[in-house]
Amino acid sequence: MKRIVIHEEYCIACRLCEVHCLVAHSSSRDIVKAYRHERDTIMSRVVVEESGPLSFAMQCRQCEDPRCLEACPSGAMHRDPRTGAITCDESRCVGCWMCIMVCPAGAVQQSTSGHRIASKCDLCQDADMPACVAHCPNEALTYEEVS
């Protein structure tokens, strides 16, 4: 399957990935409206980690053997049978945060939507390319077939 590959040597810490992830997961899909009207209830599923000049955008690594899947008691965390991407079925999530506890990449967050659900990267399944990759100005994120 295709995965997001991080090239930290070219990450410029502009955080445009975060901006566009947030917009891609808004209901309006309009950058100004998303920030104006939905900012408190939507969040970016990618987070730029920084330490001095080193930075990189971290999102779900789409593990081969995902611990979040094993830990999820409700079956909300599942592998999409069509795309192979690990996503959270928010209607089944009970907000126990086990996925957050076990994720080795720290890529699952508590949603700010007001409901107790886990929020994580879904690889923008309805788009050709995840929004963070498509909008990275320096190709520090690429979407590649990785075995």
Binding site: C11, A13, R15, V19, I31, V32, H135, N138
Partner: protein, 505 residues
């Protein structure tokens, strides 16, 4: 502290109805122009430090920013312009020379724009480059006076003349000298990779060659300048050709100056100088005070490389450029590179950049003419530099007599440069003219290489179209073919200097 009389060069207009306070501009500006006001939850700008590089404008996801020239006006005065007054305020404040980056920004006449190209109509056929072969292959180096052959008895002939080393270019465009130090490692790598990809060469400038770039030796021209930074035997032997830098178009008569801030550990290793020290090149080569001295250095370098590499001599275009070039050819140079008034730089005193030297068009015409008259044009190739902005400039330069051209500013622009002319501060927001680790990674060499090769590919397509229109199918036939140029808006003295006729005659 006394009040500064300098005013901001730019103002910033932020459309607050579009701004989403994402702070991309705040994070991208190395000059700290933008800041987040936590109390009000909005991003504001302090334009005093804005250099007009457009990094924030380009990355703003909502196009909320516009940078404008500060409309602040003095009482109009044709002699005492705003720029003149601002320069005096600055110097009265600092007591120092004013520095600039990039080439001369004064409105001296650009002769390229006063020359027009010919095309075939009726009496001779034009050529369609999409259907017929069009040759841009160019060789740089000395040509023999004559060729001697010997019959081998089987009706075949063997060449008896020993040919001198040549550079083989797939397109008559090379990347001009820009040193590692003045530009970032990623910029050097982009240039090297693009040169390899496109079958041409790039030039190390006077900064030596980073060990990781030795693999690009076959497409590298190694420069030897007055500071001799980074010059050693491996450096010379790795490169495809060697260039002795006597002068640079942006600052004829003075040496290079790399501020200590840009001399990082890697730059210091490559240049073989202490970390953090200013890299000051002497104005002259201290072993060159005559053509005979130059000959000694040319042959010392040829000797060191076993006569296997062509040696180029780069000079700035100055008043007596024709006899100077003649001397350089007679001294044994295989290539003469001439850098015109508008050539770029990483740092030069503004007064020198704007006032010293002559335009490349006039220098090129004068040199080609002089070498032809003296019967030594074949003994060296001419490379024209100093603001080649587009493919038409390339064609006009070749028609004026150049064998190939050097481009640097165009290459930087392709990589993202916006001509803010502040290279000497080391704060290049585009990651090109900087060594700051926060900034250098902004230039991804994969993107740099792609954009440079795209530029060269686009220009080569256009060059082929223009040549085809003239009915010429090889760049060799265009070289020095001034019949294909006509001048517009030029007086007779200028036409004579360029060796071209006026349009309509």
């Amino acid at each position: 502290m006394a009040l500064s009389l300098s005013t901001a060069a730019f103002i910033l207009e932020r459309d607050q109805s579009q701004c989403i306070a994402c702070q991309v501009c705040v994070r991208q500006c190395a000059n700290d122009v933008h800041y987040y006001d936590e109390d009000d939850g909005v991003v504001r700008s302090n334009p005093a430090a804005c250099v007009g590089c457009h990094r924030c404008v380009t990355l703003c996801p909502t196009q909320a920013l516009v940078v404008r020239t500060n409309p602040l006006e003095f009482r109009p005065h044709a002699n005492w312009t705003a720029a003149t007054l601002q320069s005096i305020y600055k110097q009265a404040e600092t007591g120092g020379m004013l520095l600039s980056g990039m080439g001369c920004d004064q409105p001296h006449r650009i002769y390229w724009d006063h020359m027009l190209l010919n095309a075939s109509q009726v009496t001779n056929p034009s050529i369609d480059p999409l259907r017929e072969p069009m040759e841009l292959k160019t060789f740089l180096g000395a040509r023999p006076d004559s060729l001697a052959f010997e019959a081998d008895g089987d009706g075949e002939y063997d060449l008896r003349t020993e040919l001198t080393p040549q550079l083989e270019l797939d397109i008559p465009i090379m990347f001009s000298a820009m040193s590692y130090g003045s530009i970032s490692y990623n910029a050097c790598r982009s240039l090297a990779r693009a040169a390899k990809q496109m079958g041409t060469y790039y030039n190390t400038g006077e900064g030596g060659l980073h060990p990781d770039l030795y693999e690009y030796g076959p497409v590298t021209i190694a420069q030897v300048a007055s500071g001799r930074f980074g010059v050693h035997l491996d450096y010379l032997r790795t490169a495809a050709a060697i260039e002795i830098k006597i002068g640079q178009g942006a600052k004829p008569g003075i040496g290079g100056h790399l501020p200590g801030e840009k001399v990082t550990r890697e730059v210091s290793r490559t240049r073989m100088i202490p970390e953090g020290t200013d890299a000051l090149s002497p104005a002259p080569h201290h072993d060159i005070y005559s053509i005979e001295d130059l000959r000694q250095l040319i042959f010392a370098l040829k000797e060191a490389t076993h006569y296997r590499k062509p040696v180029s001599v780069k000079v700035a275009a100055v008043h007596n450029i024709a006899p100077i070039a003649s001397g350089i050819v007679r001294a044994g140079a295989d290539i003469v590179a001439i850098d015109g008034l508008r050539g770029g730089t990483g740092a030069a005193p503004t007064v020198i950049r704007n006032n010293v030297g002559i335009p490349i068009e006039l220098a090129l015409a004068a040199v080609d003419q002089r070498l032809r008259e003296e019967g030594i044009r074949h003994r060296a190739s001419i490379v024209a530099a100093g603001s080649i902005r587009n493919s038409a400039d390339v064609v006009k330069a070749i028609a004026l007599g150049a064998d190939a051209v050097y481009v640097a500013t165009s290459a930087l622009v392709a990589m993202g440069c916006h001509l803010c002319q502040r290279c000497y501060t080391g704060k290049c927001n585009w990651g090109i003219a900087t060594q700051d680790p926060y900034l250098t990674k902004r230039l991804n060499p994969n993107i740099g290489e792609r954009r440079l090769t795209n530029l060269l590919r686009a220009w080569s397509l256009e060059i082929k179209e223009m040549m085809g229109g003239m009915g010429i199918n090889a760049v060799e036939s265009l070289r020095g073919n001034r019949d294909h140029l006509r001048g517009v808006g030029l007086n007779q003295v200028e036409l004579d200097a360029l060796g071209i006729r006026a349009a309509g005659t």
